[in-house]
């Protein structure tokens, strides 16, 4: 397994992939920084730090969801694209290496890189709050939930994007699905907390809405729902198993 992970690292260390991992959270945080800087008095309630933190979390979360969904699609596509571009699959799969390991390595890398992004996002949120002077009551749990819950809830989407990117050489399919996923993930975001009780009926069957439903914030009130993290991990596990099976049987052109 180590061999597969190291070999994937050699392939990607000179690509945009590394930069993308930083660019995502940097974009989310810096856009919010600009927004606050331009309209500080319209957004911030002086003296109400609990509210200010919660609103900051909400604002970051709203940008984070589409960024996360798009980021997954791009990472999966870039990683598989490396193999498709140079006709490398046939060389790779004629080696005495288990196909399961080759596939898992790609998943582990995407999940690992996104974990870095999620961490950067949490760190960025805290720094931004400090920069605006919301010091006394840092809602640590809220910030961690804001960044890590959607990330974990997105494991199903990671598995879907990876599978499509690997099986279909033309990456426009995977990217199109990624964009659709991003739109779908935003639909649930538009739901009010009341609507969520209705969403409950169909949402468990749509992996794309898990991330936003796992850490929804409305009117500066967080509604985190660990159930969607569990759904995400379950869907991720199942779809990863399915993808590994399909990849192991795949005919190589």
């Amino acid at each position: 397994m180590n061999g597969a992970l190291v070999s994937d690292w050699i392939k990607m260390r000179k690509t945009w992939i590394k930069i993308l991992v930083i660019l995502g959270p940097f974009g989310v945080i810096s856009l919010n920084a600009v927004r606050y800087a331009l309209n500080y008095h319209g957004i911030v309630r002086p003296g109400d730090d609990a509210y200010n933190w919660a609103l900051l979390i909400q604002n970051i979360s709203h940008l984070l969801m589409p960024t996360l969904m798009l980021g997954i699609a791009l990472l999966a596509s870039l990683l598989s694209g490396l193999e498709h571009q140079g006709h490398a699959w046939k060389q790779l799969l004629a080696l005495p290496v288990s196909r399961v390991q080759l596939y898992l390595s790609k998943f582990i890398w995407i999940a690992g890189l996104l974990a870095i992004s999620a961490t950067l996002c949490a760190v960025g949120t805290i720094l931004l709050g400090f920069a605006f002077g919301f010091t006394p009551h840092v809602p640590w749990a809220g910030i961690l939930e804001e960044c890590y819950y959607p990330y974990l809830a997105a494991y199903g989407v990671i598995a879907i994007q990876l599978l499509l990117s690997v099986l279909v050489a033309n990456q426009s399919f995977a990217i199109t699905l990624g964009v659709l996923g991003m739109i779908i993930s935003g639909l649930s975001d538009a739901l009010s907390p009341d609507g969520l009780t209705h969403a409950g009926h169909w949402a468990p069957f749509v992996p794309w809405v898990y991330p936003s439903l796992s850490a929804l914030t409305h009117g500066a009130v967080q509604h985190v729902d660990f159930a969607y993290v569990v759904y995400g991990l379950l869907a991720g596990g199942l779809l990863l198993a399915l993808g590994t099976g399909l990849f192991a049987r795949k005919e190589v052109k």
Binding site: G3, A4, V6, S7, I10, K11, K14, T15, L82, Q85, G86, H87, A88, W89, K90, Q91, L92, L93, A94, L95, P96, V97, S98, E251, V252
Partner: protein, 304 residues
């Protein structure tokens, strides 16, 4: 009989209704350079993909190193190095890094990377990105990758495709060295007989999925030895006469054909015919090149 490294039995692969490989029984002897010859679309790559476990046979069996490929894929692949059709590479990486990617998977020491780069003479370009390599350099990098795991069997699918004469020569020299210097058995496919002729010890000719010929290159060459053609006025009488005199004769159209064109034989035949009162209009020697023989095989198949 010598030991076989590859043996397939009734190997068949269909794509929809099209049968791309049809009941092929390959026999590749140990230590040979096996030229796998066939025109475009003959089924070479399809066969090679099956040998490497990249695609599954529709029916038939593959034994490599005396083991069933479907049951022992990993241990078999550990002893094979391969290059399938167009070169495989990561363009943004250097040649060295490309080999490193594979070396990590094979768990071979990095010293081996330098060795194989040396064997294919890519050491000077080792740290250039492969994007900037010429086709010949990419092809040599592919061979280096195939050699990385110290294979006992090298399977190369059209390694000289698209190369200039110098590049072809270079790769041919590389391949010829394999059995001698490294004890490696080589299967090399091509659509050019002239190319196979200059390096192979054994030949398999495939067309429309059928293996039409398989034997040592000498056996193929025998078929190209020159023959004597005689045009006479009474061919049947002449044939009987010459057969009685102990010659091997066959009739082809109006011509007599004798599979021997030594000067003494020619003189003797001519004298006997003339003495028997048979007019000899023309005596000619016809030799067929290997290329003609190859085309004959392929044409016969095409007219089936």
């Amino acid at each position: 009989m010598s030991e076989m490294v590859i043996e397939t039995s009734n190997l068949t692969r269909r794509y929809g209704k099209k049968v791309s490989v049809n009941n092929v029984n390959l026999k590749v002897p140990k230590g040979s350079i096996y030229g796998f010859l066939g025109p475009n679309g003959a089924g070479k790559t399809t066969t090679i993909r099956m040998l490497l476990g990249l695609i599954r046979p529709t029916s038939g069996h593959i034994r490599i190193f005396n083991q069933d490929l479907s049951k022992h894929r990993m241990p078999i692949l550990r002893r094979i190095g391969s290059l399938v059709e167009s070169p495989s590479y990561y363009g943004h990486l250097s040649g060295y890094e490309n080999l490193d990617v594979i070396a990590r998977l094979l768990k071979v020491p990095s010293k081996r990377i330098d060795e194989v780069l040396g064997i294919v003479r890519l050491t000077p370009a080792a740290h250039q990105t492969v994007k900037g390599y010429s086709l010949g350099m990419k092809q040599r990098l592919g061979i280096a990758a195939a050699l990385l795991g110290n294979p006992d069997l090298l399977i190369l699918d059209e390694p000289t495709n698209g190369l200039d004469p110098a590049g072809i020569h270079e790769i041919r020299t590389l391949i010829k060295d394999m059995p001698k210097q490294h004890g490696i058995t080589v299967v090399v496919s091509s659509h050019l007989l002239s190319e196979i002729d200059q390096m192979a010890t054994h030949v398999g000719i495939i067309d429309h999925g059928h293996l039409l010929f398989q034997d040592s290159i000498e056996k193929l060459r025998e078929q190209s030895s020159p023959k004597l053609f005689l045009q006479v006025d009474k061919p049947h009488e002449a044939k009987r006469l010459l057969q009685d005199a102990g010659f091997k004769v066959s009739i082809q159209g109006d011509n007599l054909q004798i599979p021997n064109s030594d000067l003494s034989v020619t003189e003797e035949i001519n004298r006997q015919l003339v003495q028997a009162g048979i007019s000899v209009y023309r005596i000619s020697e016809q030799s067929r090149s290997l290329e003609d023989i190859f085309l004959d095989f392929v044409d016969k198949e095409g007219s089936l």
